[in-house]
């Protein structure tokens, strides 16, 4: 007997015929995929575009082809190297300093950049007026435009930097090398290079950066230059950055955030697919008679399976395409949401890669998740057309396992593609599985408990609505999953943001500082103290600082470590100029992890020092290891006596290396002082006074920095919430799909109840209770899981105690419950509006 003679075109035709009559149900599935794909595509495409734009604008970001920089004046060897490279085309000295504006008594911490030569060679020095970009080189200053606006400054006003007073030549809009995030704390000022020395601000302890800018020929290989010259410069405590390495560094900074957002988007897509799987189960259930009839008419198992498979694949393709288009629209919002946190202007385009990604994701995910429910079509007996038969054959166990593994494998591979790290991908997939399993377990447990302890004494309406939660083909599991995951995401993000802000917040106590004064010379300490106390404010801390570099680690000289290609010691340790303090006790941001704290010592023997755990990890040292330092020419031998854990996120001076008292008191040093001012006016007055008397002292206003931090976290939070809301939107789509899929059951039940005398209000109450319970259980589990996850994050990542904020419990939880309730009731209103006969007739259609 031959095969039947239909080809693929007939299957397509049948899929279309059947699909067009069921388009209402299929449309909701498409909607779920569309939103999920839009979430992934928008983030993925935007991250890619940002990276491309950074790469294409890398020269403009640096202002040159490459730069050689050092935090101390370069030595002869470095000079020789620069000469061999054809000599620098421009140079710059920059540091942070307080600037005073005599015209209006204003002061502000600024990034002073003294530039010489034709810098920038690429990108624009945008000024207002435009001519100021050149005019300032004749003895003026370009001042950050926002600062000019804030302090009400005009072109022609004076700016005082240390001992030098210069006229403001123009407003500085953009300049290569100044980032807007850092610029918010210390905005840039450009002055001619030759005025730097006469400011008198280059003193002991000043954090000064020396930069030499180079223009290269088009053909010059930047990667090769970096590879050859950078190691030589490293040994001389200088560094070479090409525009390519700068672009890579900047790209990496945004990449992690992009990856995180991608995962959030991917979760939204997964959620949509769970909804599809569940909806498809009901869809296939409704099609069983049709499948049986088709088999009676001679359709094979494969054919009846493929008809529905094609429908799913088409839904995936349509969802993928629509999702890509909507994702393209959504990515236009990212520059608006992130604002000046982005380093470059991003041209929004739709790349072929994004289109392929959206299409393949939509197709692969929908097909993968629909395979399991579709398997049921294979086991439909044609006898079902004649009479109701009990299913004797269920889905193959192996096929079920294979589909499950396929889904997990796909999710893992996609996560790996996003994250590029096996362990992280494993964590992500495991975390996701745990959340899915917990929510599934809770939903099942809830239904089992409801069955076991069913409240038979309750009213008919309450009993009937609760029974709906575990009736055959109920939607309890999928709705608890969808609502739970959406709520979990939003609440976890909220808690995390809260934790970050709380850690950074200044303790509101009389003992905690809100102003840090830096770069105080030894002879200025008493004067600065008197000024602060004279203004009526306390001195909270006086912290002495001595600068030094590592000379040897465990007896091995840094030069030898550099040459040793197998060494695991971080390069930063070998070239960094450490700012070290000495004291006899620990401070509140520190705790001892290993060894013993030593309060006092003398320099006769090896000095017992304390290092931070980060230093110990990077320098590969542990308790008892010898480390020697070059303290401004003098070699000092020490031994690691204790390793401290330091909470760097606290807005206060923290140190990698701490010496005991009694050793460094006579070394050349400068100081940091902290105080607590009462209000903004008092703070401004004190700053004016200090800048007038001690122009080299830099002042950090922690309140202002915290405000900026909140602003940045707020912007990032917006984007994260935006992505998390995708999950909720998908949840809504899944919810509507689930309601729609189960509507025929409810409609029939409602109409029968009405026929038996139930009133419309009673039926509506039943539905309302059911959805309110579903919404509450899902959202409550989501918040509860978020508390657990945040506690883990607080313990493992942030190392802090976690007190959940009330917002997720009292705002997110009721809001989501209400949303589910409103959607459920809103979608079911048709049941009570029409007569039972109309409803039953409609249902039949």
């Amino acid at each position: 007997m031959g095969k039947n003679n239909t080809g693929f075109s007939w299957l397509l035709k049948m899929a279309w015929r059947d699909g067009k009559a069921s388009y209402g149900k299929l449309l909701l599935f498409v909607f779920s995929i569309t939103l999920g794909v839009a979430a992934v595509v928008s983030v993925h495409s935007f991250s890619g575009l940002l990276k491309e734009n950074i790469a294409s604008q890398s020269k403009a970001l640096l202002g040159a082809d490459y730069v050689i920089e050092s935090d101390k004046p370069v030595n002869d060897k470095v000079m020789g190297i620069m000469d061999s490279l054809g000599g620098a085309d421009a140079r710059e000295i920059n540091f942070m300093s307080m600037a005073a504006f005599p015209g209006n008594e204003g002061t502000k911490l600024m990034e002073v950049r003294g530039v010489e030569g034709g810098f920038p060679f690429y990108g624009d020095l945008e000024t207002s007026p435009t001519s100021a970009a050149n005019d300032f080189r004749n003895g003026g200053a370009l001042v950050d435009a926002v600062t000019m606006l804030q302090l009400n400054l005009k072109v022609g006003d004076s700016i005082k930097l240390g001992a030098v007073t210069l006229p403001i030549a123009g407003e500085l809009e953009t300049v290569p090398g100044s980032t807007s995030v850092f610029g918010a704390i210390a905005p840039p000022i450009l002055i001619p290079f030759e005025f730097i020395e006469s400011t008198g601000l280059v003193q002991t302890g000043s954090r000064i950066e020396y930069k030499y800018y180079f223009k290269a020929d088009e053909i010059e290989d930047m990667a090769l230059l970096d590879e050859k010259v950078d190691p030589i410069l490293d040994a001389e405590e200088a560094d070479l950055d090409t525009h390519l390495s700068e672009a890579r560094r900047l790209g990496r900074r945004y990449e992690n955030f992009g990856k995180f957002l991608n995962l959030v988007g991917f979760i939204a897509l997964l959620l949509g697919c769970v909804g599809i799987a569940s909806g498809m189960g009901i869809y296939v259930q409704m099609k069983i008679k049709s499948i049986a009839v088709l088999k009676c008419l001679g359709a094979s198992k494969r054919q009846s399976y493929l008809i529905f498979f094609i429908q799913i694949a088409c839904m995936g393709i349509v969802g993928g395409l629509l999702g890509t288009a909507i994702g393209y629209g959504f990515q236009q919002l990212f520059p608006i949401l992130l604002g000046d946190l982005l380093p470059v202007d991003v041209d929004i385009t739709l790349s072929l890669q994004s289109m392929v990604l959206g299409l393949s994701l939509g197709l692969a995910m929908s097909v993968l998740f629909a395979l399991y429910p579709l398997m049921k079509t294979l086991y439909v007996s044609p006898l079902q057309a004649l009479r109701v038969v009990q299913e004797t054959q269920s889905r193959s166990k192996w096929a079920t396992i294979a589909v499950g593994l396929g889904i997990v494998l796909f999710v893992f591979c996609f996560s790996f593609w996003l994250l590029g790290d096996v362990m992280r991908s494993l964590f992500f997939v495991s975390g996701l599985l745990i959340v899915f399993l917990v929510l599934t377990a809770v939903a099942r447990f809830f239904m089992a408990m409801l069955k076991k302890f069913f409240p038979y004494s309750w009213s008919f309406i309450a009993r009937q609505s609760l029974k709906n939660l575990f009736r055959p083909q109920n939607q309890t599991l999928v709705l608890v999953l969808a609502i739970g995951i959406g709520t979990f995401l939003i609440s976890t993000l909220y808690f995390t943001k809260d934790m970050l802000l709380e850690k950074a917040a200044i303790e509101d106590s009389a003992n905690s500082a809100n102003m840090i004064l830096m770069d105080i010379q030894k002879q200025q300490v008493d004067g600065v103290s008197n000024t602060i106390q004279g203004a009526g404010y306390p001195i909270i801390d006086k912290i002495p600082i001595v600068t030094m570099r590592v000379e040897t680690l465990k007896g091995k000289h840094v030069e030898d470590i550099r040459k040793d290609t197998t060494s695991q010691v971080g390069r930063w340790i070998l070239s960094h100029e450490f700012r070290v303090t000495y004291r006899d006790s620990l401070i509140n941001s520190e705790r001892i992890l290993e060894g013993d704290w030593v309060s006092m010592a003398d320099s006769d023997s090896d000095v017992p020092i304390s290092v931070s755990s980060d230093f110990a990890n990077m320098a590969k040292v542990t308790i008892g290891d010898p480390v020697s330092f070059n303290v401004q020419g003098r070699i000092m031998n020490t031994v690691v006596q204790s390793i401290r854990e330091v909470d760097w996120s606290r807005l206060q001076p923290n140190f990698s290396i701490v010496f005991p008292s009694g050793v460094l008191e006579n070394a050349p040093q400068f100081g940091v002082m902290t105080t607590r001012t009462s209000d903004d006016m008092g703070s401004a007055r004190l700053q004016q006074q200090l800048v007038r008397q001690f122009p080299n002292v830099s002042i950090l206003d922690l309140k202002r920095i915290l405000g900026l931090l909140e602003d940045i976290l707020g912007k990032i939070g917006w984007v994260i919430n935006f992505m998390a809301f995708f999950s909720i939107f998908v949840g809504v789509a899944v919810l509507m799909g689930a309601i729609y899929s189960s509507k025929h059951q409810r409609v029939k039940q409602g109409a029968l109840l009405r026929t038996l005398g139930a009133q419309g209000a009673q039926i509506l109450k039943m539905i309302a209770i059911e959805y309110a319970v579903l919404g509450f259980v899902g959202a409550f589990m989501g918040v509860l899981l978020a508390v657990l996850a945040s506690t883990l994050l607080a313990y493992m990542l942030f190392e802090t105690a976690f007190t959940p904020s009330w917002v997720p419990f009292f705002i997110i939880l009721p809001a989501i419950t209400l949303l589910v309730f409103a959607l459920g009731v809103g979608n079911s209103i048709g049941i009570v509006r029409n007569s039972p006969l109309t409803v039953l007739k409609k249902e039949k259609e």
Partner: protein
């Protein structure tokens, strides 16, 4: 005349909890090509089970069924499906039209499954033959019971089947419509030379057939003709 259906010593037993329930017990009969044949009996006598087995919709391991020269139990499910598509037509008590397909689309499904070209034109002819030329774009839910059964008849005869199985074809219709459908059924049976196997409890309908058997508790109680 050749034998289109041959049933030999057929039994079917269902397991119900701890007990075996025999619904067919040693049933044997034959149907010739072009002949009309009725299976009658009260509810629960095994009529529909017998029809399902004869059409290859179900299987059993006791007895044999030869349909169009093929031993049904030698074929797998897809093999039986192909046999049905090429040789068998169906009419069901509750019509069993595909609800998402229009009247015309329902009629042409068996033709398309065979890869017949100009299936649509042929389907239109068939619909015209059952008097529904103006209803081809209507969905089943937009048709009356009689109209739906006429579409089902057109679908059943679309492939010019060698044998047609009808399960209570007039059971869901009023007398007048039922009679019209019966007439149409026999007319098409005569016209196309299709053997007709009707399951019914309607003795008047059974009398119109060439032969009939009466089942009771799974056994043949009486053979007529």
């Amino acid at each position: 005349m050749s034998k289109i259906l041959k049933v030999q010593h057929l039994s079917k037993t269902y397991r119900s909890g701890e007990h075996d329930l025999t619904v067919l017990n040693n049933v044997s009969f034959e149907v010739e090509s072009g002949e009309s044949f009725a299976i009658v009996g009260p509810s629960g006598s095994g009529k529909t089970t017998l029809l399902g087995l004869c059409a290859g919709l179900d299987t059993t391991n006791e007895g044999e069924i030869w349909l169009c020269g093929q031993n049904l139990f030698d074929l797998d499910e897809d093999g039986r499906a192909r046999l049905r598509n090429e040789n068998v037509g169906f009419v069901f008590q509750d019509f069993q039209l595909l609800p998402t397909l229009t009247a015309l689309e329902n009629v042409i499904v068996p033709l398309e499954l065979r890869g017949v070209k100009k299936a649509t034109a042929h389907g239109k002819e068939l619909l015209a033959k059952v008097g529904l030329q103006n209803r081809e774009g209507h969905y089943p839910s937009q048709l009356s019971g009689g109209e739906q059964q006429r579409v089902a008849l057109a679908r059943a005869f679309a492939n010019k089947p060698s044998i047609l199985f009808a399960d209570e074809p007039t059971g869901n219709l009023d007398d007048e419509t039922g009679t019209k459908i019966e007439d149409l059924l026999f007319e098409l049976n005569k016209e196309q030379g299709t053997a007709l196997v009707i399951v019914t409890h309607d003795l008047e309908l059974a009398k119109k057939t060439d032969k009939s058997i009466r089942l009771r508790s799974g056994k043949i109680e009486e053979t007529v003709g």
